[in-house]
């Protein structure tokens, strides 16, 4: 599981928090981080502004109850699993908590360590699975780059962020030249090896903050966040073209070469809506492809 498993404990009894912390530390010391909120309001604020994997939620808090916290997040899409803690086994309260979305409930006065660890391990297992599915849904399994889903989502975020902060972002479209003959002549295994290597070479050129994705077939794209100068996008496009075309690709029984046609567009210089920017980058990429005969060129923004 990437990163720490984060737990928020909404509990107004400091001794009980220390007890739960000891239990959690005993269960897993390495990768779990636990924070405390002592009121329902503080709990709601922390849950709204941070990512927690699990919330251990006490029922009776000073002014409100844990049910109020659950109600605050009932119709909001947050990733936190809630485990409700009650002092006694009051069926109606526990069922109300489950109805409001709690994953489980535990009785404080009859605390059972085994039950607690079972609940904790289920929450961690559930989180790991969610991350696995999230990865499957957003990653291209062949190259390890993002897939079209991720690219589309990130492009929307890039637009929102750039609009809000008055920043520029760049879009790079890459179409691989000469890839089809590799597939047709040497088969799909050879094609896959070339795509994997392409993914590696493209990934190598990008910054951590950039988004690189394989959109499908032999098409790749990049989003460059917080670009101060258009020349940065141009330079990166040239570096990528060079890394793709300057060295051959190893396949079984030999080597093959491919090139790249690249089109770039930047926000807000070339447009302020996603569809317009995508169309422009795509158009420039095809202009580049048509303008050459096997030689990579750029269609400058």
């Amino acid at each position: 599981m990437g990163g720490k498993f984060k737990i928020l404990c909404v509990e107004d009894d400091q001794d009980y928090f220390l007890f739960l912390k000891l239990m959690v530390d005993e269960y897993s010391t390495d990768n779990v981080e636990m924070e405390l909120a002592t009121t329902a309001g503080e709990g709601i604020d922390k849950l709204a502004s941070n990512r927690y994997d699990l919330c251990l939620l006490d029922y009776r808090l000073e002014e409100q109850t844990g049910l109020d916290v659950l109600r605050a997040f009932k119709d909001r899409n947050i990733d936190t699993a809630f485990v409700f803690l009650t002092s006694h086994s009051k069926k109606e309260i526990a069922f109300e908590a489950l109805r409001l979305g709690a994953m489980d409930f535990l009785t404080k006065s009859k605390f059972d360590r085994f039950e607690f660890e079972k609940t904790l391990s289920y929450a961690i297992y559930k989180k790991k699975n969610e991350l696995k599915f999230e990865k499957l849904a957003t990653r291209d399994s062949l190259t390890g780059l993002g897939n079209r889903n991720l690219f589309d989502e990130q492009l929307k975020s890039a637009l929102m962020q750039s609009e809000r902060n008055g920043e520029r972002f760049g879009l790079i479209y890459i179409d691989i030249d000469g890839f089809k003959p590799v597939n047709d002549t040497y088969g799909h295994d050879a094609g896959d090896r070339v795509l994997q290597e392409l993914g590696r070479r493209i990934g190598e050129q990008t910054r951590k903050s950039d988004i690189s994705a394989r959109l499908g077939g032999d098409e790749f794209a990049l989003i460059l966040m917080r670009v101060e100068d258009i020349a940065v996008v141009d330079r990166l496009a040239r570096k990528i073209e060079l890394s793709i075309s300057s060295r051959p690709y190893d396949i079984e029984n030999g080597q093959v070469s491919v090139g790249a046609s690249i089109g770039i567009a930047t926000y807000p210089d070339d447009g302020t809506d996603i569809d317009g920017l995508l169309r422009l980058a795509d158009k420039r990429m095809y202009e580049c492809k048509r303008g050459k005969k096997g030689i990579s060129k750029f269609a400058f923004a």
């Binding site: 107004d12 002092s87 006694h88 006065s109 059972d112």
Partner: protein, 122 residues
């Protein structure tokens, strides 16, 4: 609660338990303070406020008392908590006899806490 592993864990648990036990008189004082205020100023507003406080204090004690292995404290505290809950929901006027009854329940809790402190000293 079953503890079946390492010495370190047992030591940490015992330290938490001792710290909790040492603070029991403070927890009782909080309840007594609210009860005292309820007795001296039995207005509708103050009764509701103080009963809610006693309910919250006793609720915490019920949960953590049971967790740290003080079953009797938890049980006595739960009785106080439940009585407060019922009194807060009662439609009838609050009578002086309720205060006496609540006082008796808090005294029973006090006895239970004193027993723990005496056991801890012996």
């Amino acid at each position: 609660m079953e503890i079946d592993d390492g010495d370190d864990f047992t030591k940490k648990m015992e330290a938490l338990k001792a710290s909790f036990a040492a603070k029991l008189p403070d927890r009782l004082s909080e309840i007594e303070h609210s009860l005292g205020s309820l007795k001296s100023e039995p207005t509708a507003e103050n009764i509701e406020r103080r009963l809610t406080q006693i309910l919250n204090f006793s609720h915490k004690l019920t949960g953590s008392g049971g967790t740290f292995g003080f079953a009797d404290v938890s049980k006595k505290s739960a009785v106080v908590e439940e009585r407060c809950e019922a009194l807060l929901q009662e439609a009838t006027a609050f009578r002086a006899s309720y205060i006496d009854e609540l006082d008796g329940l808090v005294r029973a809790l006090e006895t239970s806490i004193q027993n723990i402190l005496i056991q801890g000293r012996s």
